[in-house]
């Protein structure tokens, strides 16, 4: 059984068909990429599934339950988390507190008014452990706003990962970082995600990154799914080549 299934999922912005009757399936444990040119509908699709924007029509089924109209909070509770294309962090909080907050929230502890957050050793230790997994332990005390772009990208993913999701959407986890930093970032992310048994959907523009790290790729174009297959199948798909890849990755 698939972990996530969308049926005829649709979102229009005026005359623009951002996501147009998309049938989309994700199986448990896979790491797949969503590719497409700007405006193809990748981020809108993630926004619809994660609850950031409302669905016009169609349905989203997660673990056999319809979550189409669920709130963001309900979707997170059911195991869907995401990172953002433009890094979305708590810039005035420390790196450690960014993670600690996600853990507090996951465990339902943010309702506690009269206990010191620093005194919760279990949460602090888990936050430090996650920072170590993402190579950010040395930056634990630094405010998130002071981190480099690559570190901020990693922390963005780490915050989502700390929620212990079943399904994790990563919206362009290497955008805005140098070419040299991309591979180390993706190595860390894919390693942590696979070790945690998390299903991940990665939106990415860099085809080298996609072909290297994602065994399944879905190509979108004008709000619809153009192709769905392995890296080799995508490389050799004429429609994808014509619309997205040009000739550089054509086998």
């Amino acid at each position: 059984m698939s972990l996530l299934q969308t049926t005829k999922l649709t979102k229009y912005f005026g005359e623009t068909h951002a996501v147009d009757h998309v049938d989309f399936t994700v199986s448990e444990g896979e790491v797949l990429a969503l590719i497409g040119s700007n405006g193809a509908g990748k981020t809108t699709l993630i926004n619809l599934i994660s609850g950031l924007i409302a669905v016009d029509s169609g349905s989203i089924v997660f673990q056999g339950a319809d979550i189409t109209r669920d709130s963001i909070h309900e979707k997170i509770g059911k195991g869907i988390a995401r990172s953002f294309q433009l890094v979305n962090l708590f810039d005035q909080l420390s790196t450690l507190d960014n993670l600690a907050l996600a853990i507090f929230s996951r465990d339902g502890k943010t309702r506690k008014l009269f206990s010191l957050s620093d005194a919760d050793r279990a949460v602090r230790e888990e936050a430090v452990a996650v920072l170590q997994q993402f190579g950010l332990a040395a930056k634990a005390g630094m405010v998130a706003g002071g981190l480099s772009q690559g570190e901020r990208k990693l922390l963005d993913v780490a915050v989502a990962y700390a929620l212990k999701p079943r399904l994790l959407f990563l919206d362009e986890p290497t955008s805005g970082v140098s070419t040299r930093e991309k591979a180390p970032i993706m190595d860390i992310i894919t390693q942590v995600v696979r070790a945690g048994g998390i299903t991940a959907v990665i939106v990415e523009h860099d085809m080298d990154v996609v072909f290297k790290y994602c065994p399944r790729i879905i190509a979108m174009h004008h709000g619809t799914i153009l192709a769905d297959g392995t890296p080799d199948e995508i490389r050799n798909n004429e429609q994808v080549t014509a619309n997205l890849l040009g000739t550089q990755h054509h086998a």
């Binding site: 979305n88 962090l89 005035q92 909080l93 907050l101 502890k109 506690k112 008014l113 957050s117």
Partner: protein, 329 residues
């Protein structure tokens, strides 16, 4: 770990020294000065409550006079209609009334942010002001309602005892204990996981939502606590002032609460407290010195925003940081 310089620190030796000085004060200064400080401490409680919204949740309220006034009028109604004179019951009435008003107003206001939130809080506080102003048979109108000297822990003012002496000693200590308790409780709240959630909302509402924080609910609870703290201050203020009038519900008093907080620095825990006490002295001095005292305070505010955008405590923190970094001679 936290961005707010004052937030991460445990109560320091300086804080303990200040607390000791506050305890000794009535024995070394004139009663008038102690009473003046009582006003400052009471306003500081209101400022602590206000800053839970501004400094920690990122919401600028221009309507906190409503909760201060709700606390004050609740005390006055308790005296007028229930013939009660116990300060402890006054505090209970003040906190409950202000929390109730904050809960209702919060339902409307916290769905909005930025200017929309500020204007809504201002408008709702003006509704209360107009009710207090127009329903004079209930509220006493512009004459206000008088509140006699209350009993403190069941002990009333001695027969023949000078009220000024009572206010400068017993009432001052009463205010001081509640002030210290309020500081302790607020310190705990802003350092709790709940406090972290509020700071997360302040920094990035969307991301807070995506780590599972129900932004609307947390803002509402912060609004409620903020209102209750401000109402507590209002309840403590009435017996000191002797009466309450609609002026305390007017938006201009909300402006003064904003002023305290900006003066002291809303990005530090201690800033609003320092700002409230200093503002009280500043205003008392200005009112006694010139009829153009509002202009004087306006000039101070403009200067402050231009020269000290982080407020007094922000500047102190910066200087302390520089001093620590300076090489030893």
């Amino acid at each position: 770990m936290s961005p707010m310089p004052g937030v991460t620190q445990r109560p320091s030796a300086a804080a303990v020294l200040i607390a000791l000085a506050l305890v000794a004060l009535p024995w070394v200064v004139e009663p008038y000065q102690t009473v003046l400080l009582s006003y400052g401490l009471i306003f500081a409680i209101a400022a602590l409550g206000f800053n839970l919204l501004l400094g920690y949740t990122g919401l600028l309220s221009f309507g906190h006079s409503a909760y201060f006034g709700a606390g004050a009028y609740a005390v006055a109604f308790t005296v007028k209609y229930l013939k009660i004179g116990s300060m402890e019951l006054f505090l209970l009435a003040g906190i409950l009334a202000s929390a109730l008003v904050a809960a209702l107003f919060g339902l409307v206001c916290v769905r909005y942010t930025r200017i929309f939130f500020s204007i809504l809080t201002l408008a709702l506080s003006q509704v209360l002001w107009s009710l207090a102003f127009k329903f004079y048979w209930v509220t006493g109108g512009t004459d206000g309602l008088r509140v006699p000297t209350p009993t403190l822990l069941g002990v009333s003012i001695g027969s023949g005892q000078d009220k000024m002496v009572f206010l400068a000693h017993r009432y001052y200590y009463y205010v001081l204990v509640i002030f210290l308790a309020a500081v302790g409780v607020m310190w705990l709240i802003v350092h709790s996981p709940f406090g972290k959630a509020l700071q997360a909302i302040r920094d990035n509402e969307t991301r807070a939502e995506f780590v599972g924080v129900q932004v609307w609910h947390y803002r509402w609870v912060a609004f409620l606590i903020s209102g209750a703290f401000t109402g507590l201050a209002g309840a403590l203020w009435v017996p000191l002032n002797g009466l309450t009038t609609p002026d305390i519900l007017h938006w201009s008093f909300s402006g003064e609460i904003v002023f305290f907080t900006v003066l002291g620095g809303f990005k530090t825990f201690a800033g609003p407290v320092v700002g409230a006490v200093i503002f009280n002295y500043l205003k008392t001095f200005a009112v006694g010195y010139t009829v153009y005292w509002q202009m004087f305070l306006g000039v101070v505010l403009v200067t402050l925003v231009l020269a000290l955008p982080t407020g007094i405590m922000g500047m102190v923190a910066r200087l302390a940081q520089k001093w620590r970094r300076a090489p030893a001679l």
